[in-house]
């Protein structure tokens, strides 16, 4: 017998977790002397109240869809990939190399190669921890963390050395050729007669993110590989019995995960910056953990959660202007609390709810 109806499991529990996280965040806002309800209003207005705000919200959401999917795919194989940050960082190098190699005439030509560059480099950076987990049993959580630090060092070296633009003092690469510019929402929607903010960085990568979400869904629930990944994640001993190779699953899953995290570089490096800069990932790799947890590792949930976190990030910047006592790190606090409540304190909400539903069921049957 099921303990809880499905809707409660999929929607009610995460919703209550989210409310709790927001409630505690509200207490923090109160503690620094600001009005939490006003803060919510500012964030809502800032993230959805104008096409510029919406453009930024969806731009951040694009990043979070990529990193959220990356974490989720790994979760399904019971692998905890904390290395999205480093994988996206290294993927930026792949994008830069692809875009600087040729004087691209048109973005449609450049994009496939940029995607290959981002995917290959991101996957590569995930492959080493994956190999060490699969073959040597090194805990992938710790190794991926270490690889984040190593990635930052590699990036620092490249942008102060081989990839550094001779034209500026800053640690950044040469600008990409103009032909690599990805159309923004403004440029895409103008022909349709829809007025969208020119300043917002939202670009075609958002569509790529949605496509990735669909592909991940198909992969996990419609293909043999996805079947094997989920089976392995549920029970390693059963997978062994069925002849599903753990090495193969760990490697393939992490390669896919790393490549997905790498797609973030398409949105930021190619779509927004037009050159490679040092810390372009800005914690999106970690936000992916919260997004995956919140979205129950399902692509549909991840898209929703990513948009929510996009609103938080964009709204957080708005807070800076209107509430001097709040910093944008408030968003980090909210994210941490969401991870805590949805990821680690799930049972706190789930257990009483299960009892409630059991009680209701009994009553119904008695009646």
């Amino acid at each position: 017998m099921e303990r809880m109806p499905r809707w409660a499991d999929v929607f009610l529990v995460p919703f209550i977790n989210l409310l709790l996280a927001f409630f505690v965040s509200g207490l923090v806002v109160l503690a620094v002397g600001e009005d939490p309800l006003k803060a919510v209003w500012i964030m809502l207005k800032g993230s959805l109240g104008s096409t510029a705000g919406l453009g930024y919200t969806l731009y951040y959401a694009t990043n979070y869809i990529f990193t959220g999917l990356a974490v989720a795919v790994a979760f399904h194989a019971r692998l905890f990939n904390i290395g999205g940050e480093g994988q996206a960082t290294i993927a930026g190098v792949g994008v830069a190399l692809a875009l600087l190699a040729v004087n691209w005439p048109h973005w449609m030509l450049a994009l496939p190669f940029a995607i290959i560059g981002a995917g290959a480099f991101g996957a590569f950076w995930a492959s080493i921890p994956a190999y060490l987990q699969a073959k040597r049993g090194s805990h992938i959580v710790i190794t991926t963390i270490m690889f984040n630090f190593i990635a930052a060092a590699v990036m620092g070296y490249l942008l102060n050395g081989p990839l550094k633009s001779p034209k500026t003092q800053n640690a950044e690469s040469l600008p990409f050729p103009p032909g690599t510019h990805l159309p923004t929402a403004h440029e895409l929607l103008a022909p349709l007669g829809i007025e969208f903010s020119k300043s917002a960085p939202l670009n075609v990568s958002f569509l790529l993110a949605l496509l990735c979400a669909v592909l991940v869904f198909l992969l996990l629930w419609r293909t043999r590989l996805g079947y094997a990944i989920r089976a392995f994640g549920q029970s390693e001993s059963a997978a062994r019995y069925a002849g599903i190779s753990s090495v193969k699953i760990i490697m393939i899953t992490m390669l896919i995960s790393g490549a997905l995290a790498g797609m973030l570089a398409i949105n930021v490096v190619m779509g927004e910056q037009g050159r490679l800069i040092k810390e372009f990932v800005e914690g999106a790799g970690f936000v992916g953990i919260a997004v995956a947890l919140m979205g129950r590792s399902h692509p549909f949930g991840i898209v929703l959660a990513a948009i929510l976190f996009g609103m938080l990030t964009q709204g957080g910047f708005e807070l800076l202007w209107e509430m001097p006592n709040l910093s944008k790190e408030m968003v980090l606090v909210i994210q941490a609390l969401i991870i805590l409540f949805t990821g680690a304190l799930d049972n706190m909400v789930r257990a009483p709810l299960e009892r409630l539903f059991l009680y209701l069921n009994r009553k119904k049957r008695a009646a």
Partner: protein, 526 residues
């Protein structure tokens, strides 16, 4: 119902001294499952009392309540005539109760001494406690034939010695009442005999012992009184001397059991499986299989008998493709790879081997997957289940599952239900349906009826024999001697990674097989 017959001979406690243990009206439910229903029991001091019942009858739950592991929903407990309230193990220990669990609760990389004092230390420092325990262990060793090296690490001890440590733990805590949960399941017959000697010694010293088991032979051999449990209820309590195994079996099951499965004589044909000098060394460098050779022909069931842990699991794992080995295995004359890329479950399935694993929850099924997903498990690459090179055909899978559920009488017949929501018997039927309907040349079956209810057991046995009659080769591994005797056409006994001998079921009996299982060849003295 047999309980009426037993009522007339209800064992009564001696009126002079209060019973060591008295339970009144104990009930316990786990969610919708009523594990114990209004149970009352009285055990006199200085007796060995047996509790028998099938898997899931509620024996272990009852004892766990007595030991404070679970809290009863209702009921009272009296020890030596006084009511006690047991909220946790500490209370049980204080009341003089000690328990030896089926799965030992020992710290593997601690010494015997450290395990014995754990939780019963004398003070904040370890040294005095260790010294005291060492002295006591020395005394107990002589008194009760309970000798163990106090400085040995648990992981280096045999299972029998580990069990002694558990008993020593209880005695160190001054237990007067000792509960043993299925203590002989992991022991060789000679180890079991030694255990029984210890238990008799303890009884003679005035200790009260409760023995939980499903083996009637043990009940008859060692207990003074016996209670029978069935589906959470206590159906009878009688003096052991006044009952018989047949009566107890009837009380346990609730009706006469057909111990003999009906089957035609086997018609063995060509050799399907040929194993020669198979050797396995495990991760820790321990040799698990020490040169096994055997054959299975088409149209016969070879039963492998043995106490669990003597290499049967490893044999199945090698044949199933997920353990490397040396030696040779031929299937229909063709050699199978024993290591490397082609020694995985997929290659074995492709070669015509199907496998009902010993542990369906850990291996045979993905408990969180729906039944229809489990039907493809291991065969997910089969073209029948795949629409094209990329996508699986979930609709075909569901349809196939529905048909298999019908043919194998899986209840409820809902393909969308997750495996964990089926009962043990129905889970096993799902696995069996998946493996048998592959129409394999060789079927490996491990513990086919472990944790399965009586009705399903008959069904499963019938299906296995049907497959044999279709001319398939079957290798059956079971720790249940009865199952081996009634299903097999030939019996091989394993002990310590070796085949001790082969017998024909009608030319042998439990006694002879038991000796072989204990590592004794014909003619050798015990």
């Amino acid at each position: 119902m047999g309980s009426n017959a037993a009522e007339g001979r209800q064992a009564t406690a001696a009126s002079s001294t209060p019973p060591a243990i008295e339970l009144r009206g104990i009930s316990k439910a786990f969610g919708p499952v009523q594990a114990n229903k209004d149970i009352s029991l009285s055990v006199r001091k200085g007796a060995i009392h047996g509790i028998v019942g099938e898997n899931g009858a509620g024996k272990s739950t009852l004892m766990s309540i007595l030991y404070g592991f679970y809290k009863a929903d209702a009921g009272e407990i009296f020890i030596n005539g006084e009511q006690v309230h047991i909220h946790n193990s500490q209370d049980a220990i204080a009341a003089g109760i000690g328990m030896v669990f089926q799965h030992f609760k020992l710290v593997e990389n601690f010494t015997v001494l450290e395990n014995v004092i754990l939780g019963a230390e004398e003070g904040a420092m370890l040294r005095p406690s260790l010294a005291k325990a060492r002295e006591l262990l020395g005394r107990l060793a002589e008194e009760y034939e309970l000798s163990v090296d106090p400085d040995a690490l648990i992981e280096d001890l045999t299972v029998g010695h580990q069990q002694r440590v558990e008993i020593l733990k209880a005695l160190y805590r001054k237990a007067d009442i000792l509960i043993l949960d299925e203590p002989t399941g992991v022991l060789t017959p000679s180890e079991a005999d030694h255990l029984f000697r210890i238990l008799r010694n303890l009884r003679d010293e005035g200790k009260t012992i409760i023995l939980i088991t499903h083996k009637l032979r043990e009940i008859m051999e060692i207990t003074d009184t016996v209670s029978v449990m069935r589906r959470g209820e206590m159906t009878a309590t009688v003096e052991t001397a006044s009952t018989s195994p047949e009566e107890l079996a009837e009380l346990m099951v609730g009706r006469k059991v057909l111990l003999q499965v009906e089957k035609k004589p086997a018609e063995p044909r060509d050799v399907v499986l040929e194993i020669e000098d198979l050797k396995v060394t495990d991760e820790n460098g321990v040799e698990r299989l020490k040169g096994i050779s055997l054959q299975v022909r088409a149209g016969e069931i070879l039963g492998i008998a043995g106490v669990s842990g003597n290499g049967q699991s490893e044999l199945l794992e090698v044949l199933g493709g997920y353990r490397t080995a040396s030696g040779s295995i031929r299937l229909n004359g063709r050699a199978l790879d024993l290591s490397g890329r082609h020694s995985d479950g997929q290659s074995r399935r492709a070669a015509g081997i199907a496998h009902v694993p010993e542990d369906r929850q850990r291996e045979g099924l993905i408990m969180e997957f729906a039944a229809w997903e489990n039907i493809a498990f291991g065969y997910h690459n089969d073209p029948r289940y795949n629409r094209n090179a990329l996508f699986m055909d979930n609709a075909a899978l569901r349809a196939d599952t529905r048909e298999k559920m019908e043919r194998f009488d899986v209840r409820p017949p809902i393909p969308e239900l997750a495996a964990r929501n089926f009962s043990g018997g129905n889970q096993q039927k799902i696995v069996l349906a998946r493996e048998i309907e592959r129409n394999p040349d060789l079927l490996l079956v491990g513990q086919p009826t472990r944790g399965v209810d009586i009705g399903a057991i008959e069904f499963i046995h019938k299906r296995i024999i049907e497959l044999r009659d279709q001319g398939k080769a079957i290798l059956l591994v079971s720790v249940e001697l009865e199952e081996i005797l009634s299903l097999s056409d030939r019996i091989a006994v394993m002990f310590d990674g070796r085949i001790m001998g082969e017998r024909l079921p009608h030319e042998t009996d439990e006694k002879e097989l038991g000796l072989l299982m204990a590592g004794m060849q014909n003619g050798e003295a015990a």
